[in-house]
Amino acid sequence: MNHVVRMNRRSFVIGTAAVGGGLALGLELQIGSGEAEAAASEPEVNAWVVIRPDETVVIRVAKSEMGQGTITGLAQLVAEELECDWSKVTFEYPTPGQNLARKQVWGTMFTAGSRGIRESQELVRNGGAVARQMLLQAAANGWNVPVSECSAVNGAIAHKSSGRTTTFGKVAEAAGKLEPPKDVQLKDPKDWKIAGRPLKRLDTIDKLTGQLIYGIDVKLPGMLNAAIKDCPVFGGKLKSFDAEKIMGMKGVQKVVRVGESAVAVVADTWWQAKTALDALPIQWDEGENANISSASIAEWLKAGLDAEQAFVGNQNGDVKAALASAAKKVEAVYSYPYQNHATMEPMNTTALYTADKCEVWCPTQNGDRALAAVIEASGLSAPKCEVHKLPLGGGFGRRTFTDYIHQAVAIAKEMPGTPVKLLWSREEDMAHGRYHPITQAKMVGGFDASGNLTALHMRISGQSIFASVRPESLQNGRDPATFQGLNPSGPEAAIGYTIPNLLIDHAMRNPPVPPGFWRGVNINHNAIYLECFMDELAHSIGQDPLEFRRRLMAQHPKHLAVLNAVAEKIGWAKSPPQEIHRGIAQMMAFGSYVAAATEISVDNGNKIKIHRIVAATDCGTAVNPAQIERQIAGSFVYGLSALFYQECTLNGGRIEQENFDTYDSMRIAQMPKVESIVMPSGGFWGGVGEPTICVAGPAVLNAFFNATGQRIRSFPLKNHNVQFA
């Protein structure tokens, strides 16, 4: 490390002593508290654990916290193996620069795909167990007894036969000098005492007092503020701007071209920058996408529903033949719109650039990529770059991207030595998202004369995220992630039905609108298509939708178990009360099995009141059931906001919705009561932040059909004048 970052909970001083001495700053970040970064100078037991003489246990967390509770869950896993006192536990973030310098000792910092805990659980548990062994060894060495005779409980170490005791804090320094053991035994989850319990989050208090510093709150001495406008038409460019018109405005310091397509105003305050930017005359070269509209995209996708060429995701039997000979066929076409993440905290990054060093402070789900972005945008070598991760005001997948970090560094490069905070307006956030991909689906089912489902063809037409974001992950052009929740098998996202003749394929159509991972990703539309159509199939032959599903799920016991759990809890076997109608849905994704059942009433044919939601999750291993319940309940807000309100439409090549007035989100009045069933069946580790979102929509839509006889197949519901009561 070529600089030392030292922080404590009430202030942190960046003592920057850059190699070559070009920059020697003593910046006091005006940060009341908040996430502390790993202090490179603080003695550690190992990369995961620092124990101070006062017995405070600092657990390092490499994943980003955006509300999903990953800090607390990962700390529980470390603490469990460490055998420390949970009440003494706090946490800190290692920086991406430290991770790089230490050869990725903390693994990948990428935090998405509901992987925060399941991807790193083994690494962090091992880290905790190794640290415990080192602490035990240090105590044993001090007593000159075999380590096998020593034990650790709750931060205390004992040698039973001699009755001697010591504490982690007393032996931590000696432990840190020992060679780490190569093999450690991890606990069986059934023996857990700290992990597996519904503990409270470690990071709450500062969120209640306004003391937590998010990226938007960073303040550095001499810092200026930047507001930015990127060409509103995707793929368009910045032609010209007339800086003279605004240079006299109060506080304005500089107008900067950013890349090929954006312009930023730098001013003393952000409000001054934004006001001047709004007054800046800008000419855009809108380019070839200026004529694209939602209608033209829909037309193109529609053609894909019957296209010859399509990538196969799941196939067995002979669907064509089975449909041709079916006694009864059912067909339906669905569609799903573009949607924006709309994190509450808009995109932002603070950057400080000199010829010798570039540092950024940012909210990111992707620490390693953020560092790569700084290296790329600054043109400096890796040891001269650093990223300080701040807590995220929402992520939902948007902050896996580094576009705003590139922009901030580009602006800071124009003003060497001056820290600049770039903050997007909400309008910029709506105009330049990484949108939920747009798709349509044609569903065709076939029954034999006895009413058995013999064939299902699911044709998805539309956008691939990987084609835009991760083209190296395409398989001969095919995007495997498109079939999320529909795969024939596997531990991640398998379909829960066995159908004798099945074809699920994808006609890829990639409009020039940047897609991204939007909490839940491809299961959001896949679950609506599949789970609403399963209902349609059941009703078409007069069968109960639950019974109809059960018959197809015999080979999928875990899918069936969550479905049965919600059916039982909502009382499916008994008729619902008068005016109440039920819907049900299930799916597997992110390694977990989820299901939901709803009870709704519908007033006047279009006003939905959701009385009750029961949701079940089998995530294999539950690290913190209380936080899992919060993720489940929150998933209904994210999923039902999308279902009822949210759509990004295009006109003239640009997104039409500019703010929450036209891109609404649920409020507390619409929040249904969510009853969660956390039912880990053991033996695997599934994610929890995302899977449940996808069953929210179909469970409500299926109930709406039961209430009204109306099957809605395009979204959001507001387009059908269907709304919350």
Binding site: R201, T204, L208, T209, G393, G394, R426, K673
Partner: protein, 149 residues
């Protein structure tokens, strides 16, 4: 110039009087607990109290707050003791990402000043803040709990 009183402390600020109070609080007074979410009074992340009433500070020019008592989230705890609503929030482990929570708490405190025992319907009609993480179930429980504090 504007003279405003924030958390019982007076500030003379060199600022365009049309500047929204939110940005004066964040950028001139240095209190960043009040958040920017939309700028059009839709989301409520910027909620503060003006003379005891909840106001969305992103849409109020600073000139409109002169001569009034402004309370921000930083002024809620007294002498280091959390407000009962903050305590209830802590007890119910309400926040997820936390970004909207300061505004949510300010809205809840204002509601409880108006109606010490609010019904669910009162909560529904008064607490109109956006939370994208979806903490509403805990928010409701915490508001009810705070009434018993």
């Amino acid at each position: 110039m504007a003279r405003i009183t924030v958390n019982r402390k007076s500030h003379d600020i060199d600022v365009d009087p049309n500047t929204p109070l939110l940005w004066v609080l964040r950028e001139q007074v240095g209190l960043t607990g009040t958040k920017y979410g939309c700028g059009i009074a839709q989301c409520g992340a910027c909620t503060v109290h003006i003379d005891g009433a909840a106001v969305r500070s992103c849409s109020l020019p600073v000139s409109g707050a002169e001569g009034k008592q402004i309370t921000t989230i930083e002024g809620l705890a007294q002498n280091g003791v959390l407000h009962p609503v903050q305590k209830a929030w802590l007890e119910h482990d309400v926040p997820q990402c936390g970004y909207c929570q300061t505004g949510m708490i300010m809205a809840a405190v204002a509601l409880l000043m108006e109606k010490p025992k609010p019904s669910d319907a009162d909560i529904d009609s008064t607490i109109t803040n956006i939370c994208r993480c979806g903490t509403f179930q805990q928010v409701r429980a915490a508001i009810h709990a705070a009434t018993n504090a």
